[in-house]
Amino acid sequence: MSTMSLVGALNAGLRKSMADDDRVILMGEDIGTLGGVFRVTAGLREEFGADRVVDTPLAESGIVGTAIGLALRGYRPVCEIQFDGFVYPAFDQIVSQLAKFRARSGGRVSLPIVIRIPVGGGIGAVEHHSESNESYFAHTAGLRVVSCATPDDAFHMIQQAIQSDDPVIFYEPKRRYWDKGEVLDQSDRNLHEARVLREGSDCTLVAHGPTVATALAAALAAAEDGFSVGVVDLRTISPLDLSTLEEQTMTSGRVVVVHEASTFLGIGAEIAAAISESCFYSLRSPVLRVGAFNMPYPPAKVEDAFLPSVDRVLAAVDHAMNY
């Protein structure tokens, strides 16, 4: 066990995967000499060489497209997209190519590719650097989509994603990159399991990635006011771990989903629908969502008002309690 930042944990996880399996190849813009703009791959080129930690041309469609070619020869590429807002040039390669290969080939061809995306806002960045686009990919059959929130999960989940024989979109909460936490040597948790961080009998907060810490802070604040509010870290978006969500709903009867993406057709909408389908009689209030407004991510100076805050989460909890 050791204490690491989320960036350090990703770096350690990637190093372990590369050491364990020489078919694992990292590719992306500025990931070699520089170690990536967030330093997630720092030191890996020195250790594994320029063939396995590849500084690519500046072309996202190329990164994913060539990763597919490598995977067709048995490699296991891990692509870095420099910022969330720059994944779109690769959209066709991800959505029409990567996601569909297996089904198109009648199950004959699998593509074990991981696409790492630093996601979300809160770092004062300029436009296109703070987006939350998980819904696009979760809406695409053939892709697995996961989202880590802590150093421990970052370390284990990146390795599990690399071991997966399916394509995995791997979200990293960039405003939590420098947060430290304990990392255990082993994990008994499956990649596609949600995690209950806190049990609550009044209300359950469901969050993933960067909003997990927000949800925890809100739950603590609510506890001070005498409410028992639980927190579920989703961890996996596709597939969704519905059974964990259902269990929690049965205990608390109230669910508030918190994410940075816009609520309109966001993951919260899917969770709300799924829970009302399966737990209708356990619900004491409608499932509520706290997320972005349906507008482009705003300029940095107003992002605090835009991002789901503890206050906004508490307001939703209040609303659910008083329903």
């Binding site: 813009e29 500025d30 070699g32 000499t33 520089l34 170690g35 703009v37 500084d55 041309p57 500046l58 072309a59 469609s61 190329g62 807002g85 720059f86 779109y88 040039p89 004062g124 960045a125 300029v126 436009e127 296109h128 309109f264 407004f293 349906n294 507008m295 482009p296 705003p298 300029p299 940095a300 100076k301 107003v302 008002a305 835009f306 206050d311 906004r312 307001a315």
Partner: protein, 377 residues
């Protein structure tokens, strides 16, 4: 390979500048050596002293803006700044050779171009202070918003040029982009599209040798200007640190486009003297020797030397220093006096026509903001 540009179409009335042959071989076109003396091409072309002074002035002002903005960033007044240090000649030499009516599609580093077009310091800084996504009205300056998703705007320029072609204007539509952006599919689609449609697009690539930490040797397998031949457009490969050569090449390329209609490519060989941005540490990936070798080719120093060789009065430099000081003060004041932005005001910017669900979100935001303000009071 050279193309005749002076013996064709008589339908256009604009005067044809001194013909400059299309350059696709050898070293970049250069007029002024780093020590301020003229090259053989420079001698042959001749030097316009007034033009030279004007270009020098604009470069110095651009450098002042850049320096002030970086120091504002270091003081925490700006969130981010992308320095154009070292690229003043590539930017000023090219923009000055265009007409004010020529539409420009810039990337994020073209501050010198923006300043030249009359964009105010406040309009320039508002984006980097984190208050807006863009600061100026594109129509006012014939300067579009900065493209941050690399290369996308080269296609926008191409589409804009389709309109110019249909309306039979003699506009040139210019797109500025970097060496890194040339790896994007969009840029290569734009090259092909503009050429296939014989569209009046001037592609201006500032090859500053780096795309963040990625050098051009890793970025591309061949020289960028050589692509032009395969796409079927003329190209000028020019010393991007030589403002007079850039100006002459751009003048020739623009004249070619106005006369013949089709696109052209300029590759200006320059150097990003600072980090990629205020967040970057370039010592992690490049050597001091490389930086020093380019410092010796500084675009301002060589023109200052040339102007002194040409016996420019001291008063010219003194006045210019005063202008630069005034600009510096203006930049600092403009930055600190920028109005705050309210999230509530941004809802109305998303759609041109009413959008019911966003309108409902705006109302709920305002209600909750009021409620939260009440709680915290």
């Amino acid at each position: 390979m050279s193309r005749q540009t002076d013996s064709q179409s008589t339908t256009k009335t604009r005067p044809v500048p001194p013909t400059l042959s299309v350059i696709t071989e050898g070293s970049p076109l250069s007029f002024v050596n780093p020590d301020g003396t003229l090259t053989a091409d420079g001698e042959a072309h001749g030097i316009d002293i007034e033009l030279t002074r004007g270009l020098y002035r604009e470069m110095l002002l651009a450098r002042t803006l850049d320096r002030e903005a970086l120091s504002l960033q270091r003081q925490g007044e700006l969130n981010l700044w992308l320095m154009c240090l070292g690229q003043e000649a590539a930017q000023i030499g090219s923009v000055a050779a265009l007409l004010p009516s020529d539409m420009i599609f810039p990337s994020y580093r073209e501050h010198a171009v923006a300043l030249y077009r009359g964009v105010t310091p406040a309009e320039l800084l508002v984006q980097w202070r984190g208050l807006a996504h863009s600061g100026w009205d594109p129509r006012k300056y014939n300067l579009q918003m900065a493209a941050l998703v690399l290369g996308t705007h080269t296609l926008h320029a191409t589409g804009y040029a389709v309109g110019a072609r249909m309306e039979q204007t003699d506009e040139v539509v210019a797109a500025y982009f970097g060496d890194g952006a040339t790896s994007q599919g969009d840029v290569n689609e734009a090259f092909n599209w503009a050429s296939a449609g014989s569209l009046p697009v001037l592609f201006i690539c500032q090859n500053n040798q780096w795309a963040i930490s990625t050098p051009t040797s890793v970025q591309s397998g061949g020289q960028i200007f050589r692509r032009a031949a395969a796409f079927g457009m003329p190209t000028w490969f020019v010393d991007g640190n030589d403002v007079l050569a850039v100006h002459a090449a751009t003048t020739a390329a623009a004249a070619h486009i106005r006369l013949n209609g089709g696109p052209a490519l300029i590759e200006a060989e320059t150097y990003r003297m600072a980090g990629h941005s205020s967040s970057d540490d370039p010592t992690r990936y490049r050597s001091d020797e490389e930086l020093e070798s380019w410092a010796r080719r500084d675009p301002l120093t060589r023109i200052e030397k040339l102007l002194r060789l040409m016996e420019t009065p001291e008063s010219f430099f003194a006045e210019l220093d005063e202008s630069a000081e005034r600009l510096g003060a203006e930049v600092r004041d403009a930055c600190r006096n920028l109005e705050p932005t309210e999230l509530a005001d941004l809802f109305g910017n998303v759609y041109a026509e009413p959008h019911d669900s966003l309108e409902a979100e705006r109302r709920s935001y305002q209600e909750s903001a009021r409620a939260l303000a009440g709680v915290n009071r």
